[in-house]
Symmetry: C2
Subunit: 114 residues, 2 copies
DNA sequence: TTCATACTTATCCATGCGGCTAACTATATG
DNA sequence: CATATAGTTAGCCGCATGGATAAGTATGAA
């Protein structure tokens, strides 16, 4: 498995959790310290930190510590990686009937168009 | 958690696996029976079927059985649901500096722009 | 009717994930 | 210095996930 695929694994896994998506949604509006991010959630801090780590490993967020406070910020690059994958699929889906074989198969097998 | 969020959970989880993404990528080009989908993978059939079930539960694919053969096909609706989420984030990210508070905070805290 | 094909169902197993508590470290603050 | 604050580290727990095998079902072919 190449790096692009591996990166999609961790990326989609990171996004497959409502808490983590909500954190992203908060951070796209601007950076915030861990404490502020954590307060809305009824969850122990170490549990919440695991989510932050997952997001950071996935490259969706970055963080830096100054004094006691770790400030997290959003990183837009990785979302683009994911969107690239969607674009690929959409392109393939759009070009389904580009060659005659597929068209014939489709006509033969009945209507599969939306 | 509302239905939109729950649906994003299962959707992203379904996409967080290379085998499942590859199956989607195959099916966007057109429908195929289970056997044909399974052959490229060094995996027992029941294991592979689990992946198909995950994709079907997530609404990414549909399947119908005729005789012995179950034919799977891609369903584009759910990918759009995911893309919608990305669009939301992109919009928020783009409007980060729409109000003065954020701009001031940003100038104060240093450069966080790309 | 016999045999092969294409799943399907049931069960098991190791690992990882998402949650917890408890205890620790390091930095402000009074 | 003493205490509160903000994370961090370590370890535990139950459940889900991704894999396996073995055996069963139903359909098509000979």
């Amino acid at each position: 498995m190449d790096k692009y695929e591996a990166s999609l694994d961790t990326l989609f896994h990171a996004l497959a959790d409502p808490t983590r998506r909500a954190v992203v949604q908060r951070l796209v509006k601007g950076p915030a310290p861990v404490k502020e991010l954590a307060t809305p959630y009824d969850m122990a801090l170490p549990s919440f930190m695991k989510h932050l780590n997952v997001l950071e490993q996935a490259g969706l967020i970055a963080s830096e510590k100054q004094g006691r406070v770790r400030t997290c910020s959003f990183n837009p690059d990785k979302l683009e990686t994911a969107e690239k994958w969607f674009d690929e699929q959409r392109a393939l889906w759009a070009s389904r009937f580009d060659n005659l074989d597929n068209l014939l198969t489709s006509l033969q097998g009945g209507n599969d168009e939306t």
